[in-house]
């Protein structure tokens, strides 16, 4: 009866207002004439009213690290904005950046150290003191280390807060078993493939703002947002750059593209080989650059000679003439073309060779060190601090699973996730008996949840340090609450102006707290304090490199002749003259002897991936602009913007299946694993029939995440069979196939 209630309220209010007017007549409101916008107390005063602007914020709603200012009223952060002094993001921040306030004050945040007195996976929490928590963590970790060796401890870190403890576990404790999601489930493949080809990891260093053509392979900017990155992309488009988007789905970028290549998922390398072969055969590559800087070019051209336009057209299910059109467009605009290396590239298990192909294509076009090409800005130097001494690093290296197994020679730093999980489950070559998650939620970042859960169940000890009660926290024995990026001293962010062709400038920003670290309602601690306290209790006190986060920041800034005090005086960002970024030449390993010697194809090679079984389509995932991985799914503002992740289905298929836009559906995969929840169906012509798409970062199963729990579908729960990239050991996660369930009935997807 909500309406009635409102009506009653209305009547009461109306009568009251009328009575007031009677007493004072219309003169009472004359005062309002000069200030017609007086709204207190019924409207917020605005973030600019009676607030202090606090500088020194560096965002970590994602990892692009935009520079922030905080608007603080009575010690409370009311709004985040881009730091107007920033030459990177400027006064702009994205939806997630704006919603940082809601993370800071999320009532579901972890507040106190907790001990699980129930079961792993079905926890019952008991609040304990920091001393008790740290004593137990240290004792249990030490016990595992003494019984099985320090390599029996596995760590799953993520984010800036995990850097310091990761150094401790790797170098001092001495375990190689560190699985960073940012490497093994994200960009590690890209980095090592580019190192093998161009001798440098690429980051996202393509000068899109000054490009005449941009090639995105799966890149979906707009759905994937990093502020200065998207600024570069948009400036390029505004200046008339031709955009080519290769994607099975009509993504946010495809919608702005000149050419949309509606490729069959898994076949991108075949497409790239055909483009390169066409450039070589037609002589439309950059001969001068290749002659001067190419290595193994003859072997390369011979190795890709089979990749005709027709060959690729058949494999990729796109017209041969479109592949040719792409090649010609790139050649016509070379060398000022951005061949984007991608970011999350752990897709199908054949990804190292695709990333190699992108690097080779960049070289073939001579798109290196030139406007619009592969160019890195030259950032300023800052000091180093907080590095742990390499006390037991040798032990760690000696026990690296991939080295022992002589596998995955192009693994990014750390140990491939599946080797850790297999060792844990088989005890071979050695057992893994302690599990530390720090800022990472491996339940939702790593494929095959049942396997991860088995791994957790066989541990002697599980410790988790996080901000939010993510799914992994349900499996912790001891749960430690840490401060957020808005409350702590932390990392240094150096960089350059966002447009590489702009006035050459550099900047140094540091993450300084925008609000106080302590408050009466919690006992959160920062990662340096937590790690140091652990180190002391584990007998490693003498190796502690810094006493506090603040000291670490101070020392790093000192390397740039700066201090925290000075940086604050400079409005949170030091801006200084920069260095011309163009002109750098890179050698290009078209054929790589190193890769060939390791037993892999030295020339970029296409390896087909398994086809969907009959009735299924391939599940691909991507990003929603309001979420970062699975980290933001309890943020009340972000959830409100996109409460669920709609699952995309081709419109013709939907018609044949009797499904319509807006239907509630769930999914089942090729192993019979069903999604725990349902979501809304999006019927669209903008996706291939063999592809199902949804945004990642939904469907947490932890009831302690009261806003996000059960909202949308957790794509990772359906990725039971992860592919493994043979060169790197990193996961491919677009490796599973699904069909629909509606009203309890399984619905096959027509071919």
């Amino acid at each position: 009866m909500a309406l009635n209630l409102t009506r009653r309220k209305f009547l009461q209010t109306a009568s009251l207002a009328a009575a007031t007017a009677a007493v004072s007549g219309c003169f009472a409101n004359r005062a309002a004439a000069s200030t017609p916008f007086v709204r207190k107390p019924f409207t917020a005063p605005g973030s600019f009213a009676d607030t202090k602007t606090v500088v020194g914020g560096v965002c970590e709603m994602c990892f692009w690290r935009c520079q922030l200012v905080g608007k603080v009223r009575d010690g409370k952060l009311v709004k985040l904005e881009g730091n107007p002094k920033s030459i990177d993001n400027g006064a702009s921040i994205c939806a997630r950046g704006n919603a940082g306030v809601k993370l800071l004050y999320d009532p579901d945040r972890l507040k106190y150290p907790m001990k699980n007195v129930g079961k792993r996976g079905a926890p019952e929490w008991k609040r304990i003191s920091w001393d008790e928590a740290l004593d137990e963590c240290a004792a249990k970790l030490k016990a595992v280390s003494e019984k099985y060796g320090p390599h029996a401890i596995a760590m799953f870190p993520h984010g800036a807060s995990a850097t310091y403890p990761m150094g401790f576990f790797e170098k001092v404790v001495g375990t190689p078993n560190i699985s960073e999601a940012s490497f093994f489930q994200c960009r590690g493949i890209r980095d090592t493939a580019y190192v093998a080809t161009l001798d440098t990891p690429p980051d996202e260093n393509v000068d899109m703002a000054n490009a005449k053509a941009i090639l995105l392979l799966g890149g979906h900017f707009g759905e994937n947002v990093h502020v200065s990155h998207v600024k570069r992309y948009l400036k390029g488009l505004e200046n008339g750059a031709k955009l080519i988007v290769v994607d099975p789905r009509f993504s946010a970028s495809a919608a702005k593209a000149h050419i949309w290549v509606k490729i069959k998922p898994g076949t991108d390398t075949a497409f790239l080989l055909a483009v390169m072969n066409h450039l070589v055969k037609s002589g439309k590559y950059n001969k001068a650059y290749v002659t001067a800087n190419g290595v193994g070019f003859d072997k390369f051209t011979a190795g890709i000679a089979h990749a005709s336009l027709e060959w690729a057209a058949r494999i990729c299910d796109v017209p041969a003439k479109q592949i040719k059109e792409v090649a010609e467009l790139l050649a016509a605009n070379a060398p000022n073309v951005s061949i984007h290396p991608g970011r999350h590239v752990s897709w199908y298990g054949n990804d190292f060779q695709r990333e190699r192909s992108l690097a080779c294509l960049t070289g073939l076009l001579g798109a290196i060190g030139v406007k619009g090409g592969f160019v890195a800005g030259k950032g300023p130097k800052v000091g180093k601090a907080g590095g742990w001494p390499a006390v037991n690093e040798e032990h760690a290296e000696h026990h690296a699973l991939h080295k022992m197994a002589k596998k995955y020679p192009f693994s990014p730093p750390g140990t491939p996730t599946d080797l850790i999980r297999e060792a844990a489950l088989t005890g071979k070559p050695y057992p893994i008996k302690a599990f530390v998650a720090w800022g990472q939620n491996p339940i939702q970042t790593v494929p095959n949840q049942p396997m991860t859960i088995k791994v957790l169940q066989q541990m002697d000890f599980v410790m988790v340090c996080d901000i939010m009660p993510t799914d992994i926290t349900m499996y912790a024995d001891i749960l430690l609450p840490e401060t957020s990026y808005l409350e702590r001293y932390d990392m240094i962010k150096p960089g350059t102006q966002w447009d590489l062709a702009g006035k050459q400038q550099q900047y140094i920003a540091a993450r300084l707290p925008l609000v106080a670290m302590t408050a009466a309602d919690h006992e959160r601690k920062d990662p340096v304090w937590i790690t140091n306290e652990l180190a002391k209790r584990m007998g490693f006190e003498k190796h502690i490199p810094v006493k506090s986060q603040e000291e670490k920041t101070e020392k790093m800034l000192a390397g740039a002749n700066l201090s925290i005090e000075q940086l604050i005086k400079e409005e949170g960002i030091r801006v200084q003259d920069g260095v011309e970024p163009y002109g750098k030449v890179l050698k290009v390993n078209f054929f790589s002897q190193e890769i060939a010697d390791a037993g892999f194809p030295g020339v970029p090679t296409y390896t087909p991936v398994p086809e969907p079984p009959k009735g299924f389509a391939r599940l691909v995932y991507g990003r929603a602009p309001v979420h970062t991985f699975n980290r933001s799914q309890n943020n009340a503002w972000l959830v409100n913007e996109m409460p669920e992740n709609p699952v995309w289905l081709n419109d013709e298929s939907a018609r044949k299946m009797g499904l319509k836009d807006g239907d509630r559906v769930s999914l089942v995969n090729q192993d019979g694993v069903k999604s725990r929840t349902t979501t809304v169906l999006k019927v669209t012509p903008g996706i291939r029939k063999d592809t199902i798409y949804m945004a990642h970062g939904y469907g947490t199963m932890n009831p302690a995440m009261t806003v996000g729990v059960g909202k949308g579908i957790d794509d990772q729960s359906l990725i039971t069979k992860g592919a493994v990239d043979p060169e790197t050991g990193a996961h491919g996660m677009r490796s599973c196939f699904v069909k629909f369930i509606k009203d309890g009935k399984e619905l096959s997807i027509p071919a």
Binding site: A32, S92, A99, N640, E641
Partner: protein
């Protein structure tokens, strides 16, 4: 305001910055209206006569030339003098709790006098208003074009945070302004034959995106007025006109209200 869909990437920063700036609650109000001042809706991918399209509907109050929300406000009218900040010219008008500023053209709400009845929110074909029931009393709320921030020399919150510079704010009456140039280039209003209120947020984009935006996001009909609210609004308004300045408003108002309450009770 102009929204350039060629630039917009649909990131939702505008919507969240607005929520932070004005502490706009999430979810829906008791009449099932989205509680928002500023929103982004993803459109498509869909077929259009100009090809496959996927774009966004970033929406906010249109500060219409002929706003449907103003005349339905049942609050007592008071005399308010408006001043043109440019010329210093003054204009005195009788306004209810919501009005259209005769000089800057924005549509505003006086929260002190707002009755929170929601008549204005029901009248808006763009669903740009809602009733905020979180405070001590329910109050209608919507985008103000951030006149308060403008007065402090700041850009509207959504404009400031927009990484794409897709939101262009300015004076439509100044032919040299950026916004006026967009109008010349064809920036369009979301209007239909039955909904012609003269909205002052305009959208610019390529043919296929505009085709999708217009097809999905133009209101086709004026909202069906909530009869009871409209009736109460009309009664209160006519009474207010008659008794204005006679000091009897309170009495008359109370009588009207009493009558309505009896009517209400008899139905229960």
């Amino acid at each position: 305001m102009i929204i350039d869909l060629e630039k917009c990437v649909g990131c939702h920063a505008c919507a969240i910055a607005c929520r932070a700036e004005w502490e706009v609650p999430t979810g829906k109000d008791s009449a099932n209206r989205e509680r928002r001042r500023n929103w982004v809706k993803r459109l498509g991918p869909s077929k259009t006569p100009h090809g496959l399209a996927s774009t966004y509907y970033p929406g906010l109050c249109n500060h219409c030339d002929k706003p449907a929300c103003v005349n339905v406000c049942p609050a007592d009218k008071v005399e308010v003098t408006f001043t043109d900040p440019k010329s210093g010219a003054k204009k005195t008008m009788q306004v209810a709790a919501t009005w259209k500023d005769p000089f800057n053209g924005t549509v505003q709400i006086d929260k002190e006098r707002c009755l929170g009845c929601g008549a204005c929110a029901d009248a808006c074909p763009y669903s740009a208003r809602y009733v905020n029931e979180d405070g001590e009393a329910p109050k209608a709320d919507k985008c103000t074009f951030c006149v308060e921030r403008l007065a402090a020399g700041l850009e509207p919150a959504c404009v400031q945070t927009c990484l794409a510079k897709a939101r262009i704010f300015g004076d439509l009456s100044d032919p040299n302004s950026e916004v006026a140039k967009y109008v010349k280039k064809g920036a369009a209003r979301l209007e239909s034959s039955k909904v012609k209120l003269g909205p002052n947020v305009r959208y610019y984009g390529n043919k296929r995106d505009m085709s999708l935006l217009v097809a999905t996001s133009t209101p086709k009909t004026m909202p069906q007025a909530n009869l009871r609210r409209t009736m109460m609004a009309q009664v209160l308004k006519s009474t207010a006109r008659e008794v204005k300045s006679l000091g009897l408003l309170g009495l008359a108002g109370a009588l009207v209200v009493k009558g309505l309450q009896e009517d209400e009770d008899s139905k229960e």
